[in-house]
Symmetry: C2
Subunit: 534 residues, 2 copies
Amino acid sequence: MTILGLHYIGGKRLAAGTPLNSVDAVTGERHPVSFHEATDAEVAAAALAAHRAFPALRATSPTERAALLKAIADEIDALDHVFIAAASRETALPPARLEGERKRTSNQLRMFAATVRRGDFFDVRIDRAQPGRKPLPRPDLRQFRVGVGPVAIFGAGNFPLAFSVAGGDTASALAAGCPVVVKAHPGHMVTSEYVANAVERAIARCGAPAGIFNMVFGTSTAGAALVRAPHIKAVGFTGSLAAGRALFDMARARPDPIPVFAEMSSVNPVFLMPSALSARSAQIARELAASVTFGCGQLCTNPGLVLGVRSPAFEAFVAELGTALALAEAQPMLGAGIRDNFRRGLARLSEVPGIEALMSMEVEGRVSGHLLKADRSLLFAQERPLEEEVFGPSTVIVALDSEDDFLAFAERMRGQLTATLMADDSDLPQHAALVELLEGKVGRLLFNGYPTGVEVSDAMVHGGPYPATTDVRGTSVGSAAIERFLRPVCYQNYPDALLPPALRERNPWNLPRLVDGVPTRDAPLDARSLEAAA
Amino acid sequence: MTILGLHYIGGKRLAAGTPLNSVDAVTGERHPVSFHEATDAEVAAAALAAHRAFPALRATSPTERAALLKAIADEIDALDHVFIAAASRETALPPARLEGERKRTSNQLRMFAATVRRGDFFDVRIDRAQPGRKPLPRPDLRQFRVGVGPVAIFGAGNFPLAFSVAGGDTASALAAGCPVVVKAHPGHMVTSEYVANAVERAIARCGAPAGIFNMVFGTSTAGAALVRAPHIKAVGFTGSLAAGRALFDMARARPDPIPVFAEMSSVNPVFLMPSALSARSAQIARELAASVTFGCGQLCTNPGLVLGVRSPAFEAFVAELGTALALAEAQPMLGAGIRDNFRRGLARLSEVPGIEALMSMEVEGRVSGHLLKADRSLLFAQERPLEEEVFGPSTVIVALDSEDDFLAFAERMRGQLTATLMADDSDLPQHAALVELLEGKVGRLLFNGYPTGVEVSDAMVHGGPYPATTDVRGTSVGSAAIERFLRPVCYQNYPDALLPPALRERNPWNLPRLVDGVPTRDAPLDARSLEAAA
């Protein structure tokens, strides 16, 4: 396949902006083909193409939309070792990890195909007319949910497939009936071009309009233009707090503000109960070290803060954790920028009085586990140094005075993606208050597990209160991610022929419906009304 | 009952701020009791009381929560003629209208009680563990939705009951398990005190903590403090575009931005098809005049823009509409401020070149129907003068050149709460393109009806794209309003005893659940797993 380095705009390939380069994550060597920063005009053209394709995508039946998602999944699966090598070159991620991510990405698309076929996301509600109601008749009211319109999606650096061009945001937007304009992450542009071509092949195979998928290359300049483009109606983003908040502020400052789901920052605290530590501190230390260093720590759910009550068992745990982190294999990070950022984050932490670097491993640019220790008082410091995410394979341990500190920290903690409780079943009841506090602060609560390795399924939540995300009501992983891009619409007294199929009397799409307050799949709604109409 | 003029803060009554007065809407006479602008400390105390009551409300079972909503409904119903007289004094709304609104308000609370009992809003999703899955086991994942936390609610001036202290925002927030802090509308503070007392009686009767309902009096100063209060986690508002956008901007500028649902501005366009006009122009004119002047035009869904193709039938319609509007009974508006604002809005419109006031009625401070006529070109003007809401009994008619203008306007129209199509069944197919455009622009599409008179039911949508609201994904009327105040939470591998009841294996609340992708109400999930546990 020939890499062109051009944007994808309504089925056309073009680029007129300044050059951008794809570099080898390890050697820094440039790819021979130049990419280009999208100009404002190119961004606007991509948003317009998405806008024009919106009616066609919105009108697709669940069967058609599911077929499209499945076709994309098949094309992703068909990306071969040449693709894996290209992605590994740009991200330094090992081929085995990328192969796993490829499967995760296609499975995610298939999950959304199943979600679309299930049809509950349409949330069809029908309140039938009551012409004889006193004092006033009730009209016929029919509500369902439609896509909000074209969605801007920002590829994430750390998941070149699963959170990027055809990742969860794109899959959920398409499932909701929303065309997308992806801004490819500058860290893996060749990878993005491969995936975009796979998406285009699937779209062509399904006979869908090319404009449902658009992609531009660029930096934060193109990203800002995209969020401000009038035809864009929502934003999906995964990345840093600074970048996410900037996009959020831009979107809300528009003449017509639009919803933004930015998944940004989390230290994913782990609460180690004395019972668990006394029973299996060495095992937890080894497993936790594996979670901290998985993917070279470049995961949103990396456990970056570990709390335990001061005790001999806790000291043994810390020693074991340090050893396990030191033994973890050193790996290259996603790129020089990420590595420099990691170093800066560690340095910033180390300069805080009361934080001590216990262990630090970096060999010829490859990094391994890092362990820091912080004074208990820093959990309650105004500046919250322990809640600043450091993106990489590091974690901070804190020795607490008593179990009351767990509650005190949970009470004042900022929003997080996850919180993990390590405890023995025997002392569960005493943790109810902690669980209740954590439920208000995080999207996902884990028990005796590790937050990395986010399952893609109906029940997953990858979200949480700010600054974990900009919208606590959403998740960016799992089938509920579709909800972010839907809006309700009601038809009052419309003749059946003018209603969208989802709302028609005979329920041609066989959707679950709430009829006069009763959940049903039956159609027609009422034998008598049909008789009367006959 | 003695009016105290004090705030409601966690069951306490106090007020230390500057005085505010309740005035007679017609005479301007002051009520003998002074109310008070809430101080920052009082607002913070109210938010803290709500925060403290949150765990108790969140933990209520559907049965308990429904009982609370029903108890409030009963207390609202029991508000007698003394209350109606007080409300009529403050708002100039006729007693019959207020009695109807009282019933609407209690019915709304009962609808949310039914919604809570139905339990689908919990959106329970269970993906059971698959310990043998390759390459990795799947954990047990259980998701449901919980309230976002304390909600700030702004009473609306035009519905002293249904969109105020115990109106739709409060009912949906409580149904979601969120305590509220209401800022009473300064236009009906005595009314608000009566309703707040009714809510307090219901809460006491149910044995719920007083802090689930708090209310402060005040102007935009107290409102700003409320939106910025750290314990407030969402905002519900109905009112003007200027005020709604200001609150929205404040909420999004917080260190931790929070969701805002502000229902603000809509001209609710009516599209008159030639077929309908030729068949029944006089009837439509009379019915439309009744909709324009209903409640003295002080409704969010007031039809403020009427479009028809130039023709003799259209001219006859305009003449009939003018007559019907002139014959409408003159009524006092909600207060002098609203009336002055209405006059200013009409003057602003009349000064636009191309707009002509056809008919204007005001008698001794009482206003009747107003009709204006605008050049077609103004539909497409940069400043959108015809999409500026004028709050009161007025409407603007526009003669179009052809039916193509319907499409052209719908394409560039801003977001609206409603759009109405008047057409004969015979020429339906040719309107499909118009309906498709309107679906993207409004929350509710009406066919041969009138947008005023918003039904409170499962299928209603009272929302729409900006500037109709600040969040296109919500509705402030109907049972789906509860969705605005919910967030998803996932429990991973939690022992049953530590799970919230909604997620427990035996389904003690008998909730509908999505189990491994299949909707079911059954419990236990799996006979074998229970056998194994026995």
